[in-house]
Amino acid sequence: MRHQPGECHLQATDVQERLFADSQQSAYTVRIESFEGPLDLLLYLIKKNEVDICNIPIASVTRQYLEYIELLKELNLDIAGDFLVMASTLVQIKSRMLLPPVAGEDEDEPEEEDPRAELVRRLLEYQRYKDAAERLAECEMLGRELFARKFISPEIADLKTDDAVPEVELFDLIQAFRSLLAKVPEDTFHEVGAEGLTIADRINEILDLLRGKESMIFERLFIAPLTREYIIVTFLAILELCKLKMVKLLQANSFGVIWIVPTLLESDISEEELLDRQAP
């Protein structure tokens, strides 16, 4: 299980004192609720040290970053994997900074990018959204400063709603399916691989194409885009439909056109069905 960054809570002021004991502000203690992640921590260190973000003293920032991680370990706090990934990135950048710049043999060769450039871009980009999040929080929010009527008025409650438009999100649908599967005893299941529904999809498309028609030329089901996958899926869909006895394939002579013929008309079925399947 991965740990959420928010789990790294630091509240004891002595932690900060130790962490920044060597900085010029060692007497100044700050309260840190939590760092949202490694980028958040880095931004903090940069501000703390009053350094130019475009010219980060990578050695000292890396040292402070690692000290923080060490401190978390000492305090037996969970360290999110993401913090460790950043630690190794920092160490990597630091070692690249130590290498002498490669003298370009060719004048036209583009200058090697500062090893810190990517990190600086990410930090600034992160700061933008951190900023935006703060301003979002300043919005007058529904349920906080503003309230609306979120209930059905008595005037409208009793009106018939036969043609009501469903309002539902995909997420709700999947959650319903998930919870349903959770209820079924596990031993009745076995795993399958991919969750592709392309064949079902094709079956529906073919049935749509056939709707209201007496027959259709087989080749019409193989119109572009003719990818390998599309052909296979269409073919499997037709096999499935044949197996279900929902279509028949007919060919007048051995080199003639193949016809696909629906064997059931939907209208016949649904009436019959609805008659004997009344709601209990």
Binding site: I156, V168, D172, V192, A194, D201, L207, L236, K245
Partner: protein
């Protein structure tokens, strides 16, 4: 606080409350105000909303006060109701999910998974045009098989069925949640082959 702001607060409260608010209740909320001031504010609001050409009035119902729309506008309210949205019931959503992910599927298969009779909910879904009958399955009893409709795709804003998120997609969002492995129906039938790409 002078009269005006009190009137504003009372207006907010009456507007937001799901049930008619009695003077007692208003006074309990506005504890720093005199009962007669609260009563006065309600009276003034009643007058303001009683003016001609307003679409709302402050009705005295069930011993309390509540904003209501004017009965003269009822015809239009009915038109609004026509485009009303509804939320699926839990059982409807479960059944729809079952059909979406396991189509073509029979009623027996749906009921096996849900563990309850699903005739009524299937009928509702047929009426709402979320599912349709694809045909009959070629097994004894020739049960009907169900699948989703084009309207289903429209409601969920999906270009096609292949765009349905997989269970795995959602599963990954919630690793800390109880595991539900990607599973297939234990029943024989087309769903098995169709479930794989």
């Amino acid at each position: 606080m002078t009269g005006k702001p009190l009137e504003s607060v009372v207006e907010s409260l009456l507007f937001i409350s799901e049930v008619p608010l009695t003077i007692d209740r208003l006074c309990a909320i506005l504890e720093e105000h005199e009962r007669r001031d609260v009563q006065g504010a309600v009276e003034r609001l009643r007058e303001v909303y009683a003016r001609e050409g307003r679409g709302i009035y402050l009705a005295e119902v069930a011993g309390g006060y509540q904003f209501r729309s004017r009965p003269e506008n009822a015809d239009y309210i009915r038109r609004l109701a026509r485009g009303k949205t509804f939320r699926f019931s839990r059982s409807a959503l479960e059944t729809l999910a079952m059909i979406a992910y396991r189509q073509p599927i029979t009623r027996t298969e749906v009921e096996y998974l849900r563990g309850v009779d699903s005739g009524g909910v299937l009928k509702t879904l047929l009426e709402k045009k979320m599912i349709r009958i694809l045909g009959k399955k070629d097994i004894p009893g020739k049960p009907l098989i169900y699948g989703t409709t084009r309207e289903f795709l429209e409601v969920f804003n999906l270009p096609d069925l292949a765009s349905l998120p997989t269970l795995r997609d959602i599963h990954e969002l919630a690793e800390q949640y109880a595991d539900v492995e990607q599973a297939e129906l234990p029943l024989e039938g087309p769903a098995d082959e169709i479930g794989t790409e």
